[in-house]
Symmetry: C2
Subunit: 189 residues, 2 copies
């Protein structure tokens, strides 16, 4: 388990309180990943939302129009790709409360992230606590210590996130610089 | 550029001519990836098909029904994941002819695969030549030698695939054992 940034050097990382609020978290992440791709830092994409297509019409020869479909449960997580030669995989969550309840993430997504680390990948959950406009990444193995301990409360409070997570700097370019936190946790010397 | 398997030892890899035909190539690949996951060899998934949702109805409180939507062009490739600690990414293509024409793959997909290798990932195209029931993986850098050479024919013929690609064994468990070819090309001693 890692602690948060040591106070002295990284104080400039305290959230600026003005960036992500008002922008959808997912949208801000997508812009961030686009920024990373443009600057060739990482190749990370959001996976499309899985949809079960039931009925398709063809109003013209080369344009299919889906007229009946349903959302499906995703098999895996929202985002994956490659960073510093490593496979990276994460799920993004936001909460209006000062705690993120485990019931808001699928057990098979936790298993997927856990397996990812077993295969040598980087896997975490990134949680946006809207009320305080703070974002943390929590490594899946650190997360699991609480997730699988049924004697504890089944959530990650903001207080706990500060303890076991890494604070993600927010700004304009990119809006959510989570690779800074990834560097700190996974690549620091 | 790599050559195909040396003849003597790997003759058992010659296609068995009975497996993939009749099963959709994509379906056979999905079953293969499920097999790999169950046996914990790799974690590789097909990405969902991207769909632009235009209109959703809610016939009941907890069931959204999509009543208007369109297929979108995929940003990346069909499949990605992690294998032997490495990021792996590929596009699957099939052809009814004895050549795979470059016009059937998006230029941005080629660029995505090329960038993947620049970041240290494994990236290739897997091509199913239906007529002869043979499957080859072609590393993106080998592919690019022909793709970007506009003096040549803009396709990969079966003959060329035999030369620059790695033959993929077909069987029952899994139907398309492409990691065997990946091992041969990317991990051989």
């Amino acid at each position: 388990m890692k602690t948060k940034y040591p106070d002295p050097g990284l104080n400039h990382l305290k959230p600026t309180k003005i960036k992500t609020q008002g922008m959808l978290f997912e949208n801000a992440l997508n812009i961030t990943n686009e920024y990373y791709r443009i600057h060739n830092r990482a190749i990370i994409y959001k996976k499309p939302t899985p949809i079960q297509v039931v009925k398709v019409e063809y109003p013209s020869r080369n344009k299919a129009r889906i007229v009946e479909a349903f959302y499906r449960t995703p098999s895996t997580t929202d985002y994956n790709g490659i960073y510093r030669g490593k496979y990276i995989d994460y799920e993004a969550k936001e909460t209006n409360n000062l705690r993120f309840a485990f019931k808001h993430i699928f057990p098979h997504q936790i298993e997927h992230l856990t397996k990812t680390t077993e295969h040598g990948g980087i896997a975490f959950i990134i949680i946006y606590y809207k009320k305080v406009d703070e974002i943390y990444i929590i490594d899946i193995n650190d997360f699991n210590e609480f997730y699988y301990d049924k004697t504890r409360e089944q959530s990650i409070s903001l207080v706990l996130a500060k303890e076991i997570g890494i604070l993600v700097p927010q700004g304009y370019t990119p809006p959510i610089d989570y690779l800074y936190a990834v560097d700190y946790y996974y690549f620091k010397k």
